[in-house]
Symmetry: C2
Subunit: 321 residues, 2 copies
DNA sequence: CTGAAAGCGCTTACAG
DNA sequence: CTGAAAGCGCTTACAG
């Protein structure tokens, strides 16, 4: 920058003004721009951030990118931030609360303009609350905004569809509850709509993320004479739905003829772009847009639920046929 | 930091030394640490970077995170960087050369310590070459290191396996060539091994990433009397292999009984962790480790090919049976 | 071993 | 409108 000023024969302040588009004499602007071009000068964001306290950088905290939902969300968030001339500082926590806390601190140490976090259970007491934090799907005490899909409505929708397609003996399968997770409204939404319609509904909710064996033994117990005791299952995630489908098929149960299954998330196969099961689709792009908007223009604590929709994915009856 | 110095009754330099673990009197260390704790002080990386010219931040350029390969690679790279106390600045280019160039510049403007890039065709002439750049799977003129899987060997391996499993009329299907892409050695590797074994080999290589219709019409032309004219196909990517399988199955051709298919990448289903097709597996974690090592400790231009392996995924004959 | 001072590359009141 | 100067929060020779 000093070199540019010397080359153009002006003071540093003038160069700064040209860079930032502040009013400057036309002749000065020309020569400064020429000097910038000639020297290949590029402003140093670190130095700028030191003065302005703006870094044009937002930290993204994700549990993993191995799961397509997180990968797509990260993709969408980064694209949105880019449109606002913001960069994303990506941190992967692997579902580990300690790593989550560490990452939050690291992010803040880099003086990010904000944090968008999909976390499981960070130690929030260590967190500096002066930078805006937006969570995805999680409520935390304090002044954090939260954006999520409309999980309760999604649960209702799953129930409505299964009942519409003829199911009467319904089952909800889920892992959780996560700490204060918005996603834990899926089950209650499902149950509410089932009861409203007067349909039978059972549920099995596990706490252990590491094994799904209990789901299989539960299902096995409900297979009598080669027939499953339920005709409609809502799984808390597509991930679970896909695994449940694989298990039931391995036991000779036909899907969707004997039992229909709906998941939640809206995961597509990477190659064929087909849904991996019938599912409640989360509006990922919109969630990203809202989260970015909220983190860049912090307001009072907001709690935003975005509308979901149902999509057919082979594990429910296809009414189009 | 000034506050910390005042609180501890020492000079700024002393605080700096404590923070950076430089030798300091035990009593001073104690009181400085107490002051840091009390004030909740955290060093500002931007200010530090201004002096040291180190940012502990590496830019990651990826075409997208919608494809599992890029998502897993990004995940692994971020984890490796984290272990080196480095953060990742994520930039998504959507395969757009202009965006690639813009991202490279943005990254450098943030004074990253290095760049790891999986790009298609950025305008490299605009790039400042003073920061180390490591590419994945791409060669560029200039002093950039490149890490990739051993694509040529992967192609050979695919041929060897298909031939071992009884195939005699082989076909290679691919999109490309990418500009100077390392991945373009897959076809030649395949062909070389086929010829070496004296097997027939045909190939179809398209240039248009946006449509795969020509693949299907080509295959359709080679279906005579319900039989495909090839008994072994190597697809340049799993993505293509999965789509080709879907097409052939829709035409009533049985896989792997009538034709065996191998892809490249090693993509697993996110839920079942099963390979989406028989495949040549890229060593993603190792590639990430090597790339991070190379970007953090730049040496002379290195060109590193990591070993691949074959994995069964349902589209070749399972010899274990 | 410690403290005072200079300087990293910027921005921003403040005079002129 | 422009230039000279102070200062953002750090680190690092340099004296003491």
């Amino acid at each position: 920058m000093k070199d540019v000023a010397r080359e153009a024969g002006v003071a540093l302040g003038t160069v700064s003004k040209v860079i930032n588009g502040l009013p400057v004499g036309e002749g000065y602007r020309k020569s400064v721009e020429a000097a910038i071009e000639k020297l290949g000068y590029r402003v140093n964001n670190y130095a700028r951030g030191l003065k302005t306290n703006k870094t044009y950088c937002v930290a993204l905290l994700m549990p993993s990118l191995s799961h397509p939902f997180y990968a797509h969300l990260t993709d969408a968030l980064t694209a949105c931030l880019m449109q606002h001339d913001c960069r994303s500082l990506l941190m992967i926590t692997n579902y580990d609360p300690e790593a989550e806390t560490k990452c939050l601190i690291l992010g803040q140490q880099n003086k990010v303009d904000g944090v968008i976090a999909l976390t499981y259970n960070p130690n929030l007491s260590e967190i500096d609350t002066s930078t805006p934090i937006v969570t995805i799907d999680r409520h935390f005490p304090g002044n954090f905004s939260c954006v999520s899909s409309d999980n309760f409505r999604g649960g209702e929708l799953a129930a409505e569809k299964l009942i519409e397609y003829g199911c009467r003996k319904l089952l909800f399968l889920g892992i959780g509850p996560d700490i204060l997770g918005e996603a834990d409204k899926r089950g209650p939404g499902f149950e509410t709509a089932c009861r409203r319609a007067g349909a039978d509904v059972a549920q099995l909710i596990l706490n252990d993320r590491d094994t799904d064996a209990p789901f299989y033994s539960f299902l096995q117990e409900h297979i009598v004479g080669g027939k499953l005791d339920f005709d409609g299952i809502f799984c808390k995630t597509d991930w679970l739905a896909v695994k449940v489908c694989a298990f039931l098929r391995s036991r000779g149960i036909r899907i969707p003829e004997e039992v229909q299954i709906i998941g939640y998330d809206g995961i597509e196969d990477y190659a064929t772009r087909q849904y991996s099961c019938s599912t409640i689709v989360q509006p990922i792009r919109q969630m990203a847009e809202v989260a970015v908007d909220l983190v860049l223009h912090p307001s009072a604590k907001a709690n935003i639920c975005l509308p979901v929709c149902y999509a057919w994915g082979g594990t429910t009856k296809d009414l189009r046929k």
